[in-house]
């Protein structure tokens, strides 16, 4: 019995440690990570707001390769980024962590075609309050249909782990629309 009490306390500490570790990791990425901007593309008009998040589709989501057969969908890859302009582009794809390169993020292969690889990013959702869904949807659509308006996400990445920092619709953070 005493052992069980002790073990329960240990378990409780472990259970608390998991979310605490998650928070620490994400905060570390947000504070120490390097930030990149990705342009976003219009999403399937059918249902961009699923339950409680906006679906984010990155415009630059594929790369042309000549050995697409070596990849299969679901595989973890490292994408080297070209950051010469404001918006990041995919420069190269690696199966292992690229050495010497500072600008890379982890992603997974979503789909393999004959000459192209399409990727699934770790930042494909932006959670929002349910009550804001209809309005957010409308703003999102109108802005994304108009290619002249810049809509993009700011992503922070540390050691390849990337998370969304902010979603910009026509150059304004989405939160601004709800003030």
């Amino acid at each position: 019995m005493r052992n069980r009490k002790l073990l329960l306390i240990v378990l409780i500490i472990v259970q608390l440690a998991v979310p605490v570790y998650m928070i620490a990791k994400y905060e570390h990425i947000l504070n120490e990570g390097k930030s990149y901007f990705f342009k976003i593309a219009p999403v399937d008009p059918y249902d961009p707001f699923r339950g409680k998040y906006l679906t984010i589709r990155v415009l630059e989501e594929s790369i042309t390769v000549d050995n697409s057969k070596d990849y299969h969908s679901g595989e973890l890859v490292y994408l080297e980024l070209d950051t010469s302009e404001k918006f990041a582009k995919i420069k190269n794809v690696y199966k292992f962590e690229p050495e010497g390169s500072k600008d890379y993020i982890k992603a997974s292969v979503r789909y393999v075609s004959i000459s192209k690889l399409y990727f699934k990013f770790t930042f494909d959702r932006y959670f929002m309050e349910e009550s804001k869904a209809p309005k957010a949807e409308k703003i999102y659509f109108d802005a994304l249909r108009d290619t002249l308006k810049n809509s993009y996400i700011e992503v922070n990445s540390k050691d390849g782990d990337a998370i969304i920092k902010e979603l910009y619709i026509s150059e304004k953070p989405i939160k601004e629309y709800f003030k």
Binding site: L8, Q15, V18, P19, M22, I23, F123, M128
Partner: protein, 422 residues
């Protein structure tokens, strides 16, 4: 029952002593009943509160600052941990407390992780999330000795296994599933020893379903042999009464048996069509090291089934042909690798024998239920064969009329027999 006791004593069916024993037995049962209901409602309450919290918080709370959202995310976890500690320190002998706080804690672990993911816009992979949740929730089963947490756990690891293997590329194996399933066995064994009937019943049922779900993920490596796993699982569900461990649980509850019976019944009919045999001939299974455990599991189940069939045949007066179905299916599939059409004919023959046997036994023992079951199987068999053979409509019509008349005639004869006996 208690109502009839005076009458039974009056007619010298039982003596006073036996009547007293029966009375005290039922009165004790009655006193146990309310606590059972309390536990059920307690668990339901914990489930509802858990779900409610999920819904309220999932509503999202954009206007709160991040620190406050994080604080709220931890609330359910901390509350349920406090409740669990209180239970273990003060109420460890009260089952209601143990079950309710374990259920609440089990759910809270998942809620908190999910909410933190939401705060940081992590889409995350569902399988990793479920795996983390199940691993850090699993010990609750033993520390709080909770049956319901065990059942939640089985459901959770099943969900995990299917997210790993079903909708992604197929070379991923849910290895952890097997380890995690093993982790629940000691609790289950304890429950068997303590005779916790309800839990054993639910656990058997849920684990059978879980195995059926996970065996679907073997389909990539075992190809058409996957059907053997299904039929063996159904067979074991039917024969589970004869596993020595379940000696004390025999024939109380027929749910598992009926489900296995129905499953194997469907298997037999699926295999009576020619498409399966045609497929079997063209696709062989791919053996690779990643999936070496698939054939091992298959053969383990086969030997267990052979043993149980033997046990039932020796011990039971109620041995039926359909109890053999998973073994027959196994043998016929092996033959089918070389001679598929021959196997298909034998399969149809086996179903025919089952149905005729049912009809004969029904007539002999004057059991209308057995007779009509045999006739029913026969009718389904005829129907199935009409689907894959081009038989003129007139012939079909005549066959059905004849079968229908046969139904009436057989039932009529039994009715008359029963009347004459009276």
């Amino acid at each position: 029952m208690l109502k009839y006791l005076p009458e039974l004593i009056r007619d010298n069916v039982i003596d006073h002593e036996t009547a007293d024993r029966i009375t005290s037995y039922y009165l004790q049962k009655r006193s146990e009943a309310p606590s059972k209901f309390l536990i059920i409602f307690g668990i339901l309450g914990a489930l509802l509160i858990g779900m409610g919290v999920i819904l309220i918080l999932a509503h999202n709370w954009d206007d709160f600052p991040k620190w406050l959202r994080t604080f709220i995310a931890f609330l359910p976890l901390v509350l349920s941990q406090t409740a669990s500690l209180y239970t273990l320190y003060g109420k460890s002998d009260v089952r209601l407390w143990r079950e309710v706080s374990a259920t609440f804690l089990f759910l809270s672990v998942g809620i908190t992780i999910a909410l933190i993911s939401q705060i940081y816009h992590i889409s995350g992979e569902l399988d990793k999330f479920l795996l983390t949740w199940m691993i850090i929730a699993a010990p609750i089963i033993y520390l709080l000795k909770s049956s319901f947490a065990t059942l939640l756990y089985i459901a959770g690891i099943t969900y995990y296994a299917s997210t790993v293997s079903y909708w992604f590329y197929v070379s991923k194996e849910p290895y952890y599933y097997w380890l995690m399933l093993l982790f629940s066995f000691p609790y289950y064994y304890q429950a068997l020893k303590n005779n916790q009937r309800n839990f054993i019943r639910f656990y058997n049922f849920l684990t059978s379903i879980s195995l059926l779900v996970v065996f679907g993920t073997f389909a990539y490596s075992l190809q058409n042999f996957t059907i053997l796993l299904y039929s063996l699982t159904f067979g074991l569900m039917m024969l589970s009464d004869y596993i020595p461990l379940f000696k004390n649980y025999r024939s109380e509850d027929k749910t598992l048996y009926s489900l296995g019976y129905l499953g194997n019944f469907i298997m037999l009919f699926i295999l009576s069509f020619d498409w399966y045999w045609h497929e079997l001939y063209t696709h062989t299974f791919k053996f690779n090291l990643l999936t070496f455990h698939h054939p091992i599991i298959l053969f383990f189940m086969l030997f267990l089934t052979i043993y149980l069939v033997y046990r039932k045949w020796k011990d039971s007066s109620d041995f039926q042909l359909i109890d053999l179905s998973s073994l027959i299916i196994f043998i016929l599939v092996l033959i089918g690798i070389i001679k598929p059409s021959f196997s298909q004919v034998l399969m149809n023959l086996f179903i025919l024998i089952i149905s005729l046997y049912g009809i004969i036994v029904g007539v002999k023992s004057m059991s209308i239920a057995t007779l009509n079951r045999g006739l029913g199987i026969f009718t389904i068999l005829v129907l199935c064969r009409f689907f894959d053979r081009d038989i003129p409509f007139v012939v079909r019509g005549v066959v059905f009329v004849v079968i229908g008349l046969g139904f009436f005639y057989a039932n009529h004869r039994i009715m008359r027999k029963i009347k004459n006996e009276k």
